[in-house]
Symmetry: C2
Subunit: 210 residues, 2 copies
DNA sequence: TGCAGGTTTGACCATTTGGTCAAGGGAACC
DNA sequence: GGTTCCCTTGACCAAATGGTCAAACCTGCA
């Protein structure tokens, strides 16, 4: 009868499947983060992956499927640093650690940052459910933690939501607006990240010290 | 012989030309800021402008020409607030006024902000010359002003370049990442801008007070 | 009112692009 | 060695898209 699985299911079964899906996602990250979803073509991705277009579509049913899988897979990594901000720690150091970890990610994973940026600037058509679900839940939880610290007088009063927005904005800026920053600073490689690190440390430390 | 201008030149000559080029640019701003350059189609713009596609191309020679004219026209408006930051004023109030004006622009002109964001996230292919020219010059000039204030002990020491980046990041975030912010806060209209205003005022005031 | 130039559009075109398909090549297991 | 499923691809397709063109339609002015 009709064979159940024409195309590879969710989990790669064979070595080849594993290798090729990885190659494709890696290539897709490159292309999507550079040109956005609509600006990217299957041919570009196929070429970047060193595969033929029909071969891409053997592993993924469509262009959007590749994009969706990328985003799904990266969402966790992206939220991880915020999850690690724990009520038990020393408040200012917990928040500062979050800031600097986020900055580190902007440096190490600029493609991932731009992938999300592209998506959100255009109204987040494909990830609004995750924003209103997972992300909102996590943020709501962590703003409570921050409120707690404020009540205890351990950090200066702030609007916790807007504090988080400021952290996102300032750190991701170094990945998302990289082209602009480089156009102004003309840094050698990532040399400007050292100053950025010092700057953001100062900014948020002054903001939060009671 | 050959009539010089087949298509309307730089400056609109007739009322109809003026009206239609304006309508087109307005529609194009809407579409480009929402879908990015490659994600936008001439048909979309034409429909939004209430004109036929060939009619669009009677007023502008190509899709990129529309985009270019939009960006050129908006660049000045965009840089204006920074120009207004003067060495003569009271330093903290000058900087704070810039921050709040920028935030105001994020609220009033989110489409313009997203137009630039889309462009820069994707590597600023069409405006790198302006970034390395006009923008860099202006920023270089204003960082000098800030350095002066620091030397005079009138504001706390900061890296002036990264201060400006932080201002851009935090204010434009409310326009560029609007979808995300609304997904988390579910504000009524623009009600969250009041809190944003207070937050950014606090953030930069604490940062800059000596 | 006539007419010269500005304005509008339906029909059309070439290219790009997401996606299909049937047929041919491999790997692994019996 | 053969069979069975997995993998790969050249050729193809329909729709979308940027752009053209000639003909028709307006509009302002002498």
């Amino acid at each position: 009868m009709g064979i159940e699985r024409q195309m590879p299911g969710r989990q790669p079964r064979t070595r080849i499947q594993k290798k090729n899906t990885e190659t494709i996602l890696e290539a897709a990250l490159d292309v999507f983060s550079q040109h956005g979803f609509r600006g990217s073509t299957l041919d570009q991705i196929a070429k970047a992956a060193g595969l033929s277009k029909p071969n891409l579509l053997y592993y993924f049913p469509s262009k959007v499927a590749i994009h969706r899988e990328l985003i799904d897979g990266l969402m966790q990594t992206w939220l991880d640093p915020l999850r690690k901000m724990q009520a038990e720690g020393e408040p200012i150091e917990e928040i500062l650690a979050y800031v600097l970890r986020k900055l580190e990610m902007a440096r190490e994973y600029p493609r991932e940052s731009r992938l999300f940026a592209n998506e959100i600037v255009q109204g987040a058509p494909n990830i609004m459910d995750k924003i209103e679900g997972e992300l909102k839940d996590l943020v709501d939880e962590k703003t409570q933690v921050i409120e707690g610290w404020i009540s205890a007088g351990r950090i200066a009063p702030v609007d916790p939501y807007h504090l988080i927005f400021s952290i996102w904005a300032t750190t991701q800026h170094y990945a998302d607006f990289d082209a602009q920053i480089r156009g102004i600073l003309h840094p050698e490689g990532d040399s400007h990240f050292e100053a950025a690190r010092a700057h953001l440390d100062t900014l948020f430390r002054r903001m939060l010290t009671p």
